[in-house]
Point group: C2
Chain length 169, copies 2
C-alpha cells in the first residue's frame, strides 16, 4: 500500500466529485422546471404557461432526466468500485466511461442550447403580443443555465475519462 | 518504409477525410443560410424575413463560421504534415487536436440545437398569426441539419484524436 495517493486515485476522486456536482446541478434544474407554472392575466382572462407547452423545453427536460439517471448510475458504480476495491466490468468500464461521458456531454449541451435558443426569440414575440411572461422565461433560462453548468462539469469529467482510456485499452 | 500502412497513417487519413466532410457540410450550411431571404405577402404588404432577424439563427451562423475556419486550418495543417513528413508543433499538435476537436464539436452541436429549438416553437407561433413562413423555417431547419451532420463528422474525428493523445503525451 502506498502512503501517497497515486495519480489514478486522484483522477478517480476528481471524476467522482465532478459527477456529484453534475448530479446536484441537474437535480436543481429538474426541480425548477418541474414545479413552475406561471399565470399571466390578459383581457381574455388568465393564461397559464407551463414548460411542457414548448417543444424545446420538453427536449431540455428529457436531456436533464437522462443526464440525471446517467450520473446517478455512475455514482453508484464509483461507490461499488471503492467498496469492492476493483473496477466493475474491468477494462470495459473505461470504454463505457469514455463513450458514456462523451455522448452524455453532447446531449446535455444540446438541451441547454435548445432551451436558450427557444427562450430568447419566443420571449421577444410574447412581449410584442403584450403577454411578456417574464418570470416564466426567467425560470426557463435559469434551468438552462443550471443545465449548462452541469454540462461543464460533465465535459471536464469527459476529459479525465478520455485520458484514462487509451492507457488501459 | 513500410509497404503496409500503419494504424497511425490510417487514422490520420480517416481524420483528414472527416475534416473534409465537416468542411463541406458547414460550407453548404453557410451558403444556405447566407443567401436566403423569404418574403411573405400579408394584408399590410409584403414582410421580409432573413436569418439575422432571429437571435438563435445568428448564433447558429457564428458556430458554422467558427467551425468552418477551424476545419480549414486543420486541413491546411494536415497538408503541411503530409508534405513535410512530420507533425507541425510536434507532440503539442496532439494536445491541440484533442482540445480543438472537443471544444469545436460542443460548439457545433450547441449551434444546431439552438437553431432547431428556435425553429420548432417559433414556427408554431408564426402559423398561429397567419404568417407561416414555411419555406423560411424549412431552410433554417435544413441548415441546422447540415450543421448536425457536420457535428457528427467532427465528433467522430474527436474520438480519433482522443485516442491519439495519451499515447504521445
Amino acid at each position: 500500500m502506498d502512503s501517497a495517493p497515486s495519480s489514478s486515485t486522484v483522477s478517480r476522486t476528481v471524476i467522482l466529485l465532478l459527477r456529484v456536482l453534475t448530479f446536484v446541478f441537474l437535480l436543481i434544474a429538474l426541480i425548477l422546471i418541474a414545479v413552475t407554472r406561471v399565470t399571466e392575466d390578459t383581457t381574455d382572462g388568465p393564461v397559464e404557461a407551463k414548460f411542457t407547452d414548448i417543444h424545446a423545453y420538453r427536449y431540455m427536460i428529457s436531456t436533464i432526466i437522462v443526464g440525471f439517471v446517467y450520473n446517478l448510475m455512475q455514482m453508484v458504480l464509483s461507490i461499488i468500485n471503492v467498496v469492492s476495491g476493483k473496477r466493475v466490468c474491468g477494462d470495459f468500464g473505461y470504454v463505457f466511461d469514455f463513450f458514456g461521458d462523451k455522448i452524455m456531454s453532447y446531449f446535455l449541451i444540446s438541451g441547454s442550447a435548445a432551451g436558450y435558443g427557444a427562450s430568447e426569440d419566443l420571449h421577444t414575440f410574447f412581449k410584442a403580443q403584450d403577454l411578456p411572461f417574464n418570470s416564466f422565461f426567467a425560470k426557463a433560462n435559469a434551468s438552462a443555465s443550471l443545465l449548462l453548468v452541469g454540462f461543464i462539469c460533465n465535459a471536464i469529467a469527459s476529459i479525465f475519462t478520455s485520458f484514462a482510456l487509451p492507457k488501459k485499452a
